[in-house]
């Protein structure tokens, strides 16, 4: 029996995002499509940000993960359209982020045109008494905040 797309997607849930290791690249919405032809597999991926430095590692990990499952001919293809959005993260995925200590993103579609930030809730104590420290955090996809209630710095997954 040749493998199905569903099986390949399942295998790819074992590949984690190198910068947010609690999430798989499937949960992140980085894997867009799986193309099967004869004995070759092509995984279509999209970057979270134009300059995301993790993409190279992700490509290598996809190839090695599928090779371990017995696929020899594995390639990846990068697409930019439709452009990645945090709206592709499911509620379950957002909960995982929160438990990991990163405030999850709101819905990009609810942002006004200037992209004004909504209230950011502290992932540790659920307080709304937080302040923005920097729009740019340890990676392009996160911003830096500080909770004035529990006095902890934390990161927020930016809405994009």
């Amino acid at each position: 029996m040749p493998p199905t797309k569903e099986e390949i997607f399942q295998f790819l849930t074992e590949v984690n995002d190198p910068e947010i290791p609690v999430l798989s690249i499937v949960e992140m919405g980085i894997v867009r499509e799986v193309e099967l032809q004869d004995d070759s597999v092509r995984v279509v991926i999209t970057p979270t940000y134009s300059g995301c430095p993790a993409m190279k590692v992700i490509e290598e990990e996809i190839v090695s993960a599928l090779q371990k499952k017995g696929f020899e001919n594995v390639t990846t293809r990068t697409v930019f359209s439709p452009s990645w959005t945090t709206d592709w993260l499911s509620e379950e995925t957002k909960l995982k982020l929160k438990e990991y200590g990163i405030a999850p993103p709101g819905r990009a579609s609810e942002q006004d045109s200037s992209g004004t930030l909504r209230e950011i809730i502290c992932p540790f104590c659920d307080s709304n008494k937080t302040e923005l420290r920097s729009e740019f955090g340890s990676t392009a996809c996160k911003s830096l905040h500080y909770c004035n209630n529990c006095q902890q710095p934390f990161e927020h997954f930016k809405c994009i």
């Binding site: 970057p47 940000y49 134009s50 300059g51 995301c52 430095p53 697409v79 930019f80 359209s81 439709p82 452009s83 990645w84 959005t85 200037s114 992209g115 420290r133 920097s134 729009e135 740019f136 955090g137 340890s138 990676t139 392009a140 830096l144 930016k158 994009i160």
Partner: protein, 255 residues
């Protein structure tokens, strides 16, 4: 696509790619030198976005040109005269105010340009632009906030950012000078009407400068031009020397 359009599109993609590559490289020079840790991280994050966007535009340029050149070939193996970036983005970092003024003037342009380009009739170009415009929204908010803080801050910060805007103003005229590349691609629905971008740019820039208690420099002053044809200030060559030396010394280097 006919040869003329293909050539024009290649040129246009070089402009888009080179603006972001050169600015991204300039910003990366701040790495480890930012005035505060958060800004060090912010400027290098923005550098990364710019270089990522440049990579995408240059990769597409290489495929449109169809001579087998990769994004790396285009970035590392062209001379200054073959670079088509604006003079504005190649200007040295100066102090923090200078970097912010340069960034803000470019961000306003880039944001409005990409917002239009995401509706380009060229699908791949539109896709790259649609992705990049989301990043630019953050860049613009960052640089605009700093223009307000520095302009309406202390006497010294006000004076420093005002002189940065005064110095850089002569490089803003050429941003909106359309040539036959722009005209041909605009006709085909691939590029945008620079006139409409210019009016949005002027409005946004004046609005921010006024809010920051800064004077908008005189629009009638001398304006430098020619970078889209490969004419640059002396700074680009020096920057490229540093940017390109490793790849040119060790063309097969991998890490």
């Amino acid at each position: 696509m006919d040869d003329d359009s293909r050539h024009a599109l290649f040129e246009y993609l070089l402009r888009l790619g080179d603006d972001r590559l050169v600015l991204g490289h300039r910003l990366s020079e701040w790495c480890g030198h930012g005035p505060i840790l958060e800004e060090d991280i912010a400027l290098t994050n923005i550098a990364l976005d710019c270089i990522g966007q440049a990579n995408n535009f240059l990769q597409l340029a290489g495929s449109v040109e169809n001579k087998g050149r990769t994004a790396d070939d285009l970035a590392y193996f062209r001379e200054a005269i073959e670079f088509k970036n604006l003079m504005l983005v190649e200007q040295p970092n100066g102090d923090f105010a200078y970097t912010i003024a340069r960034q803000f003037l470019f961000d306003v342009f880039s944001f409005h340009l990409l917002e239009e380009l995401q509706h380009s009739s060229h699908q791949e170009l539109a896709g790259i632009a649609a992705k990049a415009v989301k990043e630019d929204r953050y860049h613009l908010r960052h640089s605009r906030e700093w223009v307000l803080r520095l302009g309406d801050g202390t006497d010294e910060s006000h004076q420093r950012i005002q002189s940065a805007f005064n110095d850089l103003w002569m490089y803003t005229g050429e941003i909106f000078q359309a040539d036959k590349v722009d005209d041909l691609l605009f006709e085909k629905g691939i590029s945008v009407d620079l006139k409409s971008i210019e009016s949005k740019w002027s409005e946004n820039v004046s609005e921010a400068l006024t809010e920051a208690t800064l004077a908008v420099p005189d629009a009638e002053q001398y304006m430098a031009s020619g970078s889209r044809q490969g004419i640059h200030t002396e700074y680009l060559g020096h920057m490229l020397t540093e940017m390109q030396i490793l790849t040119r010394s060790f063309p097969e280097a991998k890490w």
